[in-house]
Amino acid sequence: MHHLIKAEFRRLFATRVGAGLLLAAVLFGGGLMGAMALVGPENFDPPMPGLDTEAGLRAILGMLGYTAFVPAAVGALAVTSEYRHRTAAVTFLFAPRRWQVLVAKLTTYGVAGLAYGLVLAGTAATALFTVAAVRGISLGLPAGDVLALLARIGLAMVVYLLIGVGVGALLRNQVVAVCVVIGYLYLGEPLLMMIPGVNALYPVLPGGATAALTDFTYLADAMSQEVGSTAVRLLPPAAGALLLTGYALAASLIAIVLPMRRDIT
């Protein structure tokens, strides 16, 4: 098994995907957080509560959750690349117990997702504290709470990477899988929030569960006000975490079971 994991790490770092993932973490973590903090949520359009309030702080931390399409897309890209470049046959020749290959991939990408999440959260924390100090703002939450919220978002990124792997194994076509993942996370879920009735589902979707981790209801509230539906009630953070873990397990199961007997032609 460790041979297979070693091989998957080599595969990941032999292309630019590995480095690109870390770069994206810095850009979205430090970059996005730094930019939002510099501008200040009170200057957003429409204006949001400032960083010196708990609501404002939670809101801009929650925004980071919307970068989850990055690790998810990378997961989908990585798994489908084997079909696209026809290396799947070679891989399964070397390891005919296909589930082992997928377990190795899930392990490797789980670690990559963790690295992405840690870099994202770490650079975001650095940017946030630096900008707050420079602008002389005292944050609306104690530093320990901010770090805990960021850590939750960071860990959620592992889940998204695994969801990407599952969708990739399910669809196998690279372009389709990446479009589905990005399209759903970036557009699909926010759109669902706008449909009265259907938006009741939002708390149990991956985006809703992630928002629950930081109790980030700002966007959901804004949307329901916009369309005049009842406000969305997110799950408690622990339930959100449990649900996300469930999604990760389901995606992993799909990734492991599906390729087992499928013909590679």
């Binding site: 080599r10 292309t15 046959a89 399964f92 032609t265």
Partner: protein, 310 residues
């Protein structure tokens, strides 16, 4: 070389009553044959005959509908470290275009549990050392072919399966491939090479397995299936030429000479050069001299044209 002692008495490759259906299409139908070590075996048949499907079933990539396909006496999935026993090449290009040749081989060396030095050994064996750090996306067909072979040979397997390796190769590449595979077979390995073009591999193979529409048509040593070569000769003095030829003793036995009318003779047991030399020595004029296509070539031509016609 790797060996599986417990099963050494079994044929290297054994296909038995193998059938594969895709929906309503039967790609392979009740196919049975064996492949011996130490020789190159050609797996022949027109496009769509079921060659690729059979080879994918042999390597566990495709699950048979019924029947068995074993290597060294075991289904592929039950070989302990399969890349140590079997190397296979299916696609002309099976690499991530962003990987270098060395990266690619190291990924699979890691997968098979081989040291990284194995990747460099194979790069040098296949003459790819210069290209080791180039991205495979920039490789020519010939280089891709070599990198495919390098990947398949990482585990020093004693069975090698190549699906249409001659596709897209220039004559020089073909010549190189022929020499390389001959050498591998000479080391006692089992080499199975598929092709839909007989002429491309007839100089390469010792044995052949011919299939059509998923069914076995012929199998055995090339020399037996090809039949004894015959020479057709046209002479204005056919009777005298026949007498001269019958009077010769090239291999102790006189050649068989049949008159086919119009001054034509069909000669078995003597090649074109032998016929020409004898005619010249006895000053018999010869107007035409042709080596007849072998019976396997005729069979194959028949299969191919029948397929195109249908």
């Amino acid at each position: 070389m790797a060996s599986v002692t417990a099963t050494d008495d079994r044929p290297a490759i054994e296909v038995s009553h193998l059938t594969k259906r895709y929906g309503t299409v039967t790609a392979v139908r009740d196919l049975t044959f064996t492949v011996e070590p130490g020789v190159v075996t050609g797996f022949l048949g027109p496009n769509g005959a079921g060659k690729t499907t059979t080879m994918r079933m042999l390597t566990g990539l495709v699950t048979p509908t019924s029947g068995t396909a074993t290597i060294a006496g075991r289904p592929y999935g039950q070989l302990r470290n399969p890349s140590r026993t079997v190397g296979a090449v299916f696609d002309a290009s099976a690499f991530h275009p962003g990987h270098t040749a060395r990266d690619h081989l190291r990924v699979y060396a890691a997968m098979g549990g081989y040291p990284d030095s194995r990747a460099d050994d194979l790069l040098s064996l296949l003459g790819l050392t210069e290209a080791a750090d180039r991205r495979t996306g920039t490789f020519s067909t010939g280089m891709r072919q070599r990198l495919n072979l390098a990947t398949a040979l990482l585990g020093d397997p004693r069975v090698l399966l190549l699906d249409e390796p001659s596709n897209g190769l220039d004559p020089e590449g073909m010549l190189w491939l022929r020499g390389f595979l001959r050498r591998l077979a000479g080391e006692g390995r089992t080499v199975l090479v598929s092709s839909h073009v007989l002429s491309e591999i007839q100089q390469l193979v010792d044995d052949v397995v011919v299939i059509r529409r998923g069914e076995l048509v012929a199998a055995g040593p090339w020399s037996r299936l090809a039949g004894p070569p015959a020479v057709l000769v046209l002479s204005p003095d056919a009777d005298r030429l026949a007498a001269v030829l019958r009077g010769s003793r090239p291999d102790g036995d006189p050649p068989r000479v049949d008159a086919t009318g119009d001054g034509r003779l069909r000669v078995h047991g003597l090649d074109a050069a032998g016929v020409a030399d004898l005619a010249a020595a006895h000053q018999v004029p010869v107007h035409e001299l042709v080596t007849e296509t072998t019976s396997l070539e005729q069979l194959f031509l028949h299969l191919t044209t029948e397929r195109t016609a249908s």
